[in-house]
């Protein structure tokens, strides 16, 4: 045992140094910084979404439109010039806005006479990011409010007995969402959005951690070869199994550490995005309400769910490490590691992309079984299966991966206890006759 610990300490010493720690410290800090920037950018944006309003009518109902825009959270700035496609840019610049609305002449009178009226709007797209275009989203919402408010104002004239609410929103919809056996009152699209927001980062973390672990261990073996330390190491009085396992445990530990750090960074990032979407502290209550809905639908992870997710990830890391240590044995130097772990990357990318874009059940049978035969498919489908209560497939996935792990780790031990560890290398098409 002491010998194993001596080896483990040496392996950890090689893996944990500035060169390996720096990249993932940078990634974590980047996520955290990005999250914070997003929430602060949005707080600023919320403070003043300026809308340039050209009121060519000046009537009562035009006033209602301006008031409705204000009510929707915009800050109207009156402009006097006529807005058209050629002047819009200058007018927006002058008003310091990215959105503008023009109310035509005779607007109030025509509406009172029962004629539909046009209100034109201009929106300037500055970039294509989610946060960058919140002004435009705000305009869309505000124009809905304008319509219903104007409808209520006209209704109040024409039918004073009918409550304005009846004219604005006569039908109240109550949506119910069902997930598995659970039902909750909420909008289905909102639930879907929330879930994808919450779970989009899990696959990214899984992918990064597995690749990171594989790369580390393959590099560890390649380094021993490149620095000519392997031959000596193999002549020491330690079992080959200890050499293999100490490398695997060290890489596994560092990978889990990295996983924790990424998870932390990502969750900071997601919190940033969430608060930017929900619009700051004011909608804390809304956030709590949606939390309650998620819990009611079983769309939050319980402790045992986290445990199963962790077990699945752990089994994947083990399998990846066992494959990578064999691939690393083919390497003659550290440079070749990147190429050598390509097959492993492909095995990871297939389930990563497939599960990101579609549900495996829509695949034809043959393709589905092929994807399910890849051990690394399971970590990607565990999250959704836990949400849906399909515990059977989760346990099956853990067991299936461990079987692969046992096979590969036996192969790895064989490679390390035979001549192959010194003689194995890739020589495509250069075989001697």
């Amino acid at each position: 045992m002491r010998r194993f610990l001596v080896l483990l300490k040496k392996e950890l010493g090689e893996l944990i140094n500035l060169q390996t720690l720096l990249p993932f410290a940078v990634v974590v800090l980047m996520f955290m910084g990005l999250g914070q920037t997003l929430s602060s950018v949005n707080a600023e944006a919320d403070a003043s979404v300026v809308v340039a309003v050209a009121d060519r009518d000046g009537g009562v109902l035009a006033g209602v439109v301006t008031a409705a825009l204000e009510q929707a959270g915009l800050e109207p700035v009156a402009v006097t010039s006529t807005i058209d496609d050629s002047t819009a840019a200058d007018i927006l610049d002058e008003a310091g806005a990215d959105i503008a609305v023009e109310i035509p002449e005779g607007f109030s009178a025509a509406l009172a006479a029962g004629e539909q009226q046009h209100v034109e709007s201009w929106a300037r797209v500055r970039n294509f990011s989610i946060v960058g275009n919140q002004d435009i989203a705000a305009l869309g919402t505000a124009l809905e409010v304008v319509n219903s408010t104007v409808a209520a104002a006209i209704g109040a004239e024409a039918a004073p007995d009918v409550p304005p609410v009846m004219l604005q929103r006569p039908v109240i919809t109550s949506e119910h969402v069902m997930v598995g056996d659970n039902t909750a009152e909420a909008s289905a699209s909102a639930v879907m959005g929330f879930v994808s927001q919450q779970t989009m980062f899990i696959p990214i973390v899984l992918f990064l951690v597995i690749v990171f672990a594989a790369q580390m261990i393959a590099t560890a073996v390649a380094t021993e070869k490149e620095n000519k330390t392997l031959e000596t190491l193999l002549s020491y009085p330690v079992s080959r199994t200890s050499i293999v396992t100490s490398k695997m445990v060290a890489a596994g530990l560092v990978a889990l550490l990295a996983a924790g750090a990424y998870m932390f960074g990502m969750s900071e990032y997601m919190n940033g995005i969430e608060s930017s979407f929900s619009g700051g502290p004011g909608s804390e209550a809304a956030l709590q309400a949606s939390d309650a809905v998620m819990r009611q639908l079983g769309l939050t992870f319980s402790t045992s769910d986290y445990l199963m997710l962790g077990l699945t990830l752990f089994a994947s890391i083990l399998t990846a490490l066992a494959i990578a240590i064999i691939l690393g044995a083919f390497a003659e130097n550290v440079k070749s590691v990147g190429t050598l772990i390509m097959p492993l990357m492909v095995l990871l990318l297939i389930p990563y992309f497939l599960t990101m874009f579609l549900d495996l059940s829509v695949l034809p049978d043959a393709a589905r079984y092929a994807v399910l035969a890849i051990p690394f498919t399971y970590p990607f489908i565990t999250g959704p299966n836990l949400f849906l209560g399909n515990y059977g497939i989760v346990w099956w996935g853990i067991g299936y991966q461990l079987v692969w792990f046992a096979i590969f780790v036996t192969m790895a031990a064989r490679v390390f206890s035979s001549d192959r560890i010194l003689t194995m290398k890739l020589s495509w098409g250069r075989k001697k006759k």
Binding site: R3, V6, E231, T232, S235, Y236, P237, D419, L422, T423
Partner: protein, 251 residues
């Protein structure tokens, strides 16, 4: 440890094949306690393959290797306790300080902390690197690394030290120092299996020499005996003749 008269290392009918190539084609030799035994021969003669098999990192195709009664093939783990191996091209972990490298190896060899500490003390002394032992190995020159690695090899006081080109890359002064050290340790009872291209070194160090070519041992004896047998003035001439013989065998 070694029963009187019993050789420390016995190699019997040893062969190693890589596909069609027979790198070692059935060789026998013995190394007695405190004896320095050298394998010399041209490149590709099978020297390094033989040393690697004795060091348990290659598996023989057939034949036997016994060290103090331990079988290298059947029980490599016990065999590794008896030996210490210095490969021709060897490196050390660059992220470690030299002294920590010695500690790491000592801890691998000995469960007992005091025994490990004693090995480190020997290594420190043999290396002759003094304060430089506190420097990282990344900053070491080739010569310093080689001295450290040799110190690492002998500090565990193995029954058999396997040295492949022990002084390669060293300057004359350092090489002389190291040879002196190896001789001293052999006088203290350590057996040495050696391979070198430096005939001066072989002549100075070795008690007995085996001339190997094309995977076979062509002659074994003390340097003096070999010179007489091949009517040569020095081992270099013996070597040249054996190398020619080896080529004829291949043809």
């Amino acid at each position: 440890m070694t029963p009187a008269g019993q050789p420390v290392l016995q190699v019997l009918a040893l062969t190693k094949r890589y596909g069609d190539l027979e790198a070692v084609a059935g060789i026998d030799f013995e190394v007695a306690a405190g004896e320095i035994f050298a394998l010399i021969g041209p490149n590709g003669a099978g020297k390094t393959t033989t040393l690697r098999m004795v060091a348990t990192i290659l598996k023989p195709t057939s034949g036997e290797i016994l060290a103090n009664g331990c079988d290298a093939v059947a029980d490599p783990d016990r065999m590794r306790q008896q030996i210490s191996y210095l490969p021709e091209e060897a490196g050390a972990y660059k992220n470690l300080k030299a002294i920590d490298y010695l500690r790491f190896v000592a801890d691998i060899f000995f469960e007992d902390r005091e025994r490990a500490a004693r090995a480190v003390a020997v290594g420190r002394e043999v290396s002759g690197l003094g304060d430089r032992l506190d420097d990282k190995l990344g900053s070491y020159s080739k010569g310093m690394t080689r001295k450290l690695l040799l110190a690492r090899t002998v500090m565990t006081e193995p029954a058999l030290a396997i040295l492949d080109e022990p002084t390669s890359g060293l300057d004359v002064i350092n090489a002389i120092e190291l040879r002196e050290r190896i001789k001293q340790m052999a006088r203290d009872g350590m057996s040495v299996l050696l391979s070198s291209h430096n005939m001066l070194e072989i002549e100075y160090l070795s008690d007995r020499v085996a001339m190997i070519a094309a995977g076979r041992i062509h002659a074994t004896g003390t340097p003096a005996e070999l010179k007489e047998r091949y009517s040569a003035e020095n081992l270099e001439q013996v070597f040249a003749q054996v190398a020619r013989d080896g080529k004829e065998v291949v043809r």
